[in-house]
Symmetry: C2
Subunit: 228 residues, 2 copies
């Protein structure tokens, strides 16, 4: 029962089939756009059975939330055992793969409680990572730190949310396990390249035109660039 993820029906209880189908349909059409009849059809059951197991469409959505988050945490825990996990939060989601991740990516945009918690958890992790590694540039709790963590989380999760577009451009589904490493490789290249760019002439001008980090938690009193 644990080793046959790709078969849509086979061997699964009705409840599980419904959940899997719902994850997929919710991810593709959004919660509002998905109909219980479409989910029922995808699962090969009647709409009544959905009601029987989950009570209502909203109940089904909550079950999907719980299941997807659970699957993600499971993967994250497994990922923590290897050390590498840098801000490896989004990385965990890539490793988890499958319908759960597509569902969560959509939920991040449509806004569910769980999705907000998920983003916050990722941002908290990132904040700790930044503060531990560069305590002077990113003091714990400073606005610059919170900003950077929020933006970085959005950037990394953005690759998940926009995976259909990346898929189209890359000619392969970036969520398929065999292609996940391409994302990592690309990101490493981007980070090193952009840092290089920002130390150059054109990029330097751009960087200087921006306000300083403003580690002070107040709206920036016009101060000169302070970092580095």
């Amino acid at each position: 029962m644990s080793s046959t993820p790709p078969n849509p029906h086979e061997d699964l209880t009705g409840r599980a089939r419904i959940r899997d189908a719902a994850l997929e349909v919710f991810a593709q059409r959004g919660v509002r756009g998905a109909t219980v009849q479409a989910i029922a059809a995808a699962a090969g059951v009647s709409t009544g059975l959905i009601r029987h197991h989950f009570g209502s469409k909203e109940g089904l959505r909550e079950a999907c939330d719980a299941y997807a988050i659970g699957a993600l945490l499971e993967q994250a825990r497994r990922g923590m055992e290897e050390d590498a996990a840098a801000p490896g939060f989004a990385a965990s989601m890539y490793q988890a793969g499958g319908a759960s991740v597509r569902y969560l990516a959509r939920a991040l945009v449509e806004g569910s409680r769980s999705a907000s918690d998920l983003f916050d958890a990722g941002a908290d992790l990132t904040e700790r990572f930044l503060a531990e590694r560069w305590p002077d540039r990113y003091p714990a709790g400073a606005r610059s730190t919170r900003d950077a963590a929020a933006v970085m989380s959005a950037m990394h999760l953005g690759t998940l949310v926009l995976h259909t577009h990346m898929s189209r451009r890359m000619g392969a589904d970036p969520l398929a396990p065999e292609h996940v490493p391409r994302i990592g490789t690309a990101m490493v290249g981007i980070y090193t390249s952009m840092a290089d760019f920002l130390t150059g002439e054109q990029g330097g001008r751009l960087a200087e035109s921006l306000p300083a980090d403003g580690t002070a938690p107040t709206p920036p009193p016009p101060r000169e660039n302070s970092d580095e």
Copy 2:
């Protein structure tokens, strides 16, 4: 008459009021989740008027597409006149601000033709930027170049798509003109910091664990790290 964007009603024709309301409601609830009656209420008109001007809900959506894309291109053109525009594509969207951008961000996830075109245009720009600046690491047309451009576009646009979450974490709407620079500052910090991280011990291990760039268009023959 031309300089009062924040007032919801006042001075605007019914058609324009409907369009503005639709951009907002579509952005918040998604196309499927938005009802024409909600849009009509927000615009202070009847549902019949929407039909009168736009024919159908789908017609209204297309009008929103066209308007938002137009507003964006306008801003991009203006942005091109200053040079800085690095991969400053997403930057243009930030500068354009307002309901159009929130609408497009949502459209990127819900999938409209225009949104796909928008992503592709951004990715193309990014691809050119990479290929011009680092012709050996990012040869024009190579898979590594396409991958990097796709991922980078997704990362930058991801900050737009997930702006509600960033807003919550930052305590201020990142799309408000006075806060836009904080995003830029954060991104500059992230790029330089992460590049620093990737040259360190832990990050270096992580980078080495990934497949090489694979400028060859075939699935990567296990080769050692080649970049740098």
